[in-house]
């Protein structure tokens, strides 16, 4: 009989890890709260920097796990340590005994309404990065104007924000803003597109090239300064204020659409999981790795491993890479090596 490994979370991390565990000869049991796999990526339209359709990646991962046990709309209700095993109980009544557990519970998109100054949920034409992706995916929305003259992107919404309780940078939203700004400009070539940033953190392969393209080919304007206030004019446009910190002057502009780059915050459900499995939580609310340099996928408990954004903000390629290394570490652990 193949050995069970419980994988908690069916986003791209959990899917890729399950795929690898199958290939290594195990019986992965994938547990997902929602009614579909693929997590946040499944809601996305195209992925930077190659603009590959997110749906293709999710389908490829699906194809690799058709032999796995998958429980959708299922939660973990308890995790107990019995000698060398864990006993994992699920909300559907199934209980699984296993020696290794992989946690891939991901992140929660920051609730942009908490940054009240931006008026998300108050003004119709203030949307989030996720709302825009949903619209790119063909979901109609009357919140996206049909012919915007000007569009703004606000970086770092709920990230790098001690007041919001998130000191960390979410890593992916600078490049997401650049990507979405280009995509808006492609759809609306006449529109003026602005990105309001504090720093541009474009660290990944091809990211800087993307930024140069955004300037060169698309004429996107990058304004260094955090939007401090959004209001609505009588004719329903948005009045945005920021300091143009490069000029050292206050700046205002009217926009037809404002897109908030909501960041990655810790998944609140992880606190309960951590309590059940006696896992350490880090100061940023994410799960604490044993070692942030060489053991990011290793927890403080024997046999419990991590992959993806449950330990902090990650890009998709980083998440997939971690899922593979976690699968390998589980394999070595189960082989007693």
């Amino acid at each position: 009989m193949k050995e069970n490994v419980v994988v908690i979370g069916g986003g791209v991390a959990g899917m890729e890890a399950a795929r690898q565990l199958l290939l290594l000869g195990y019986n992965p049991i994938l547990v997902e709260q929602q009614d579909h796999l693929g997590g946040h990526v499944a809601q996305w339209n195209r992925l930077f920097p190659d603009m590959a359709p997110a749906g293709d990646l999710v389908r490829r991962l699906w194809d690799g796990i058709t032999d796995a046990n998958i429980f959708l709309e299922t939660r973990v209700t308890s995790v107990n340590r019995l000698k060398d095993d864990y006993l994992v109980m699920l909300s559907n009544g199934v209980s699984i005994s296993c020696r290794a557990i992989l946690i891939a519970s991901g992140f929660k998109l920051f609730d942009a309404a908490r940054k009240e100054e931006y008026g998300y949920g108050v003004y119709d034409h203030v949307v989030t990065n996720a709302d825009l992706e949903s619209w790119f995916n063909g979901n109609e929305s009357d919140r996206i104007p049909s012919a915007p003259r000007s569009v703004g992107f606000v970086h770092c919404v709920g990230s790098r924000d001690l007041k919001a309780g998130n000191s960390q940078c979410s890593k992916v939203c600078c490049i997401t803003a650049v990507k979405q700004a280009i995509e808006m400009k492609e759809r609306f070539p006449e529109a003026r597109v602005y990105c309001f940033y504090m720093d541009l953190r474009l660290f990944g392969k091809k990211y800087e090239d993307f930024y140069i393209r955004a300037q060169q080919e698309f004429g996107i304007q990058f304004i260094r300064g955090r939007v401090s206030e959004v209001g609505e004019t009588l004719d329903g446009r948005l009045q945005v204020k920021a300091e143009d910190t490069l000029s050292g002057k206050p700046l205002k502009v009217q926009l037809d659409l404002l897109v908030l780059m909501a960041g990655m915050s810790c998944n609140p459900d992880v606190a309960e999981l951590a309590r059940m499995a006696r896992l350490d939580i880090d100061s940023d609310g994410f799960l604490r790795s044993l070692d942030n340099t060489a053991g990011i996928d290793v927890s403080n408990r024997p046999g419990i491993f991590y992959a993806g954004a449950c330990t902090g903000a990650k890009t998709v390629p980083e998440t997939l890479g971690e899922a593979r290394s976690a699968a390998l570490d589980i394999h070595r652990y189960l082989q007693g090596r």
Binding site: Y194, Q216, L246, P250, V253
Partner: protein
């Protein structure tokens, strides 16, 4: 004018909706590289005229984007070309300045 003991100050706010960016657009049409300036300040840091004249190519490009009159700054440039050597985006800055002077003519 009667002195009432107070005065009205002009707002320093940059209003992007009213900014006349025609010159910037003309510059970009002739010197597409103007678009890829990333405001790093290498050009102004190395500029021989900057300490004495207030010339800053960084501020010139930014000012054009904000619809400001940048002629007073441009007048401080000696066209020495030193800035061209340091621009990390490889902009031919001296050429760009000359083009801009022609736009203003």
């Amino acid at each position: 004018m009667m002195d009432f003991g107070f005065k009205l100050s002009k707002s320093a706010t940059l209003d992007l909706d009213r900014a006349d960016t025609g010159r910037y657009e003309r510059l970009c049409a002739l010197e597409p590289d103007a678009r890829i300036c990333m405001n790093c300040g290498s050009c102004s840091a190395t500029c021989t005229a900057a300490p004495f004249s207030g010339m800053s190519l960084r501020k010139v490009i930014l000012g054009l984007q904000r619809g400001q009159d940048v002629r007073p700054m441009l007048q401080g440039c000696m066209l020495c070309g030193k800035c061209s050597m340091v621009c990390p985006r490889g902009i031919n800055t001296r050429h760009l300045i000359l083009t801009l002077c022609r736009i203003y003519d």
